[in-house]
C-alpha cells in the first residue's frame, strides 16, 4: 500500500526519531511512503492566531496541492499537522466558496488543489487499512506483561470528531498496544490536554497538566506511556525534570512514541526504535523483555 507522507517540522527536529521508527515500521508492514516534495509548515495552532484561519489553511493547502499529483492518501502522524491538513481538506470538499478563494491564492504560486485527497491519521491507517491481524502476525517479540497507558492527547481525535475514533474516549491506540502483546491499562486522562505549546510562553500550565496525566497513568498501574503526538511526548518527557522539581514529585514513567514500541515488538534493530532519544530512560522498564542499549 502506498501513501504520501507529510512529516511536519517537529518530525525533522525534536521528534526525528518518531519519523525514523514510523518509516521502519511502515516498511515492515509492506507500506510504501512517499514524502510530499518540498512541503511547508502547516502553521500548527499558532499561525491562524496572527494572520487568520483562511491564510493558514491556504498555507497548509500548498502541501495538498503538491501531493495531489500522486493521488495517494496523505499519512500524517503529528497531531497539529493532522488537524490543519484534515480541516483544510474538509473545507475544500464542503465549502465551494472557500475552495474557489483558496485556489485563487494558490494560483499566485502556480498551484491548484481539486480536493481529491484523503488526509489520514497514522493510527487510523494502521488499524483500518493494515489491520490488527496483520500487525499481530508481524510481532516477533510479544510485549507480554508490559503495562502501557495509551496517551492519545487532544487534537488527533478531536480535529474531525468521529472520523476514525471517539473524540473523548478513543480506543484505537489501545487496540494497537494490545496487538503487540502488551496490556493497555485503563487511563481516564488518555485524551486530556498536556498544555501543548504553552511550554514556552507559560510553562507552568504544561508542568501542571503533564503532572496530572503522568499521575493518572501511574495510579492505573502503567509502567510506561506511548503517544502519537510529538508535542505531548516532548512535554511529558523533556519537561520531566522541571515537573518533578516544581511539583516535588518523583514521576519516572517513560513515554515513547507508539511506533517505537512497534519497532521493539517487530524486533527491528535498536537504532530504529531510537530509545536513546527518550530523555526519561525506558531501559529499566523494558529490561524484562530483553531490550538493552
Amino acid at each position: 500500500m502506498r501513501y504520501s507522507i507529510y512529516p511536519g517540522c517537529t518530525m525533522e527536529g525534536p521528534a526525528l526519531f518518531f519519523l525514523k521508527a514510523t518509516e521502519a515500521v511502515a516498511e515492515a508492514l509492506g507500506m510504501h511512503l512517499d514524502e510530499i516534495p518540498d512541503w511547508n509548515c502547516c502553521g500548527a495552532s499558532e499561525v491562524s492566531g496572527v494572520v487568520g484561519e483562511f491564510t493558514q489553511q491556504v498555507m497548509t493547502a500548498r502541501n495538498l496541492a503538491i501531493a495531489e499529483a500522486k493521488g495517494q492518501d496523505v499519512l500524517v502522524a503529528c497531531s497539529s499537522c493532522y488537524m490543519n491538513m484534515g480541516l483544510t481538506n474538509k473545507h475544500f470538499k464542503d465549502d465551494p466558496h472557500f475552495a474557489q478563494m483558496a485556489n485563487e491564492a494558490l494560483a499566485a504560486g502556480g498551484l491548484k488543489y481539486n480536493g481529491t485527497l484523503k488526509v489520514r491519521q497514522i493510527v487510523d491507517i494502521l488499524v483500518n487499512d493494515i489491520g490488527l491481524d496483520k500487525i499481530k502476525a508481524r510481532v516477533k517479540k510479544p510485549l507480554t506483561g508490559l503495562k502501557v497507558a495509551g496517551y492519545v492527547g487532544c487534537q488527533t481525535v478531536r480535529a474531525l470528531p468521529w472520523e476514525y475514533d471517539d473524540p473523548e474516549r478513543p480506543v484505537l491506540l489501545d487496540q494497537l498496544i494490545e496487538a503487540l502483546g502488551a496490556t493497555a491499562v485503563p487511563f481516564p486522562m488518555k485524551a486530556r490536554c498536556c498544555g501543548s505549546s504553552h511550554a514556552i510562553a507559560q510553562t507552568e500550565i504544561v508542568l501542571e497538566h503533564s503532572k496530572e496525566i503522568l499521575e493518572s497513568a501511574a495510579s492505573n498501574g502503567a509502567s510506561m506511556l506511548v503517544t502519537n503526538c510529538p508535542m505531548c511526548q516532548m512535554n511529558l518527557d523533556a519537561f520531566r525534570g522541571m515537573i518533578n522539581q516544581v511539583h516535588k514529585t518523583n514521576l519516572t514513567l517513560p513515554i515513547l512514541f507508539f511506533t517505537q514500541l512497534m519497532a521493539i515488538a517487530f524486533d527491528l534493530p535498536p537504532a530504529v526504535a531510537g530509545l536513546k532519544h527518550c530523555v526519561v530512560s525506558p531501559y529499566e522498564v523494558l529490561a524484562p523483555l530483553g531490550v538493552g542499549k
Binding site: C9, E12, V50, G52, C154, R158, C193
Partner: protein, 200 residues
C-alpha cells in the same frame, strides 16, 4: 441593604464592539452562543482564565471591549478542541479564539507573552517555510526581552535544554529554507489580500 432602586428604563448597550467581533472570520459564531457553559466545564485551562468562553461571549454582547481584549482567555486556549467537540450549538470555539488573538495582535493588545510566541512562530514559518525551535525561541526572546529567559531558567529550563541536547533532540543547524519559499510567500500574500477583501 438590597438596592431596590432599579430603573425600569431599558438598558442600552453599545453594540459597535459586538459588530466588530461578528465581522471576524469566525466571529459570527459568538452570536449563536446560548450561554450553556459547556465550554467552561470542558476547558483544559478554565481555572486560570479571566473569563470562560461563555462569559467572554456575553461580554462581547454587552460591548465590554477593554475587558475582552485585555483578558487572558483566548491566550490560555490550548486548542485541545474539547469545547469545539462538545458545543451544542456547533461553535468552533478554538477558531473564534484564534480570531480574537489575531485581532488583539492587530490592535496592539500584546501584553501576554503568548502574543509574542504566536508572532515568533508566524515569522519563522513565513521566512523559512518550515519552523525551527531555535529560531522561534530567538525571535520570542528578541520580542520579550531577557526577562523571559530568567523566568524559564528559574523553572529549570536549562536542564531541560541540556537533556534534549544530550539525547540528540536539538538540531544545531536550522533546516534549509524550502525551495518554493518565494511561491509560498506569494500564496500567503495573495491569501491575506483576499481575506481582507472578504472582510470588507
Amino acid at each position: 441593604m438590597v438596592d431596590n432602586k432599579i430603573s425600569s428604563a431599558p438598558v442600552k448597550y453599545d453594540n459597535s464592539f459586538a459588530k466588530e467581533i461578528y465581522a471576524l472570520e469566525n466571529g459570527h459564531y459568538a452570536q449563536i452562543c446560548m450561554q450553556c457553559g459547556m465550554c467552561a466545564v470542558s476547558c483544559a485551562t478554565h481555572d486560570i482564565m479571566d473569563y470562560s468562553p461563555r462569559r467572554l461571549f456575553n461580554l462581547v454582547r454587552v460591548g465590554k471591549k477593554e475587558e475582552v481584549m485585555r483578558s487572558n482567555t483566548m491566550w490560555m486556549c490550548t486548542a485541545c478542541c474539547m469545547c469545539k467537540v462538545r458545543c451544542p450549538r456547533g461553535i468552533p470555539l478554538v477558531d473564534v479564539m484564534h480570531d480574537l488573538k489575531a485581532m488583539a495582535i492587530k490592535q496592539g493588545y500584546v501584553d501576554y507573552p503568548h502574543a509574542a510566541f504566536h508572532q515568533a512562530f508566524w515569522q519563522e514559518a513565513f521566512s523559512r517555510g518550515r519552523v525551527f525551535e531555535g529560531g522561534i525561541m530567538a525571535r520570542f526572546i528578541l520580542k520579550r526581552g531577557l526577562g523571559e529567559i530568567k523566568k524559564l531558567l528559574a523553572l529549570g529550563m536549562k536542564d531541560m535544554g541540556m537533556g534534549m541536547l544530550k539525547h540528540g533532540r536539538v538540531p544545531l543547524v536550522p533546516p534549509r529554507k524550502i525551495k518554493g519559499l518565494k511561491e509560498l510567500q506569494q500564496i500567503i500574500q495573495r491569501a491575506q489580500a483576499l481575506q481582507e477583501k472578504e472582510a470588507k
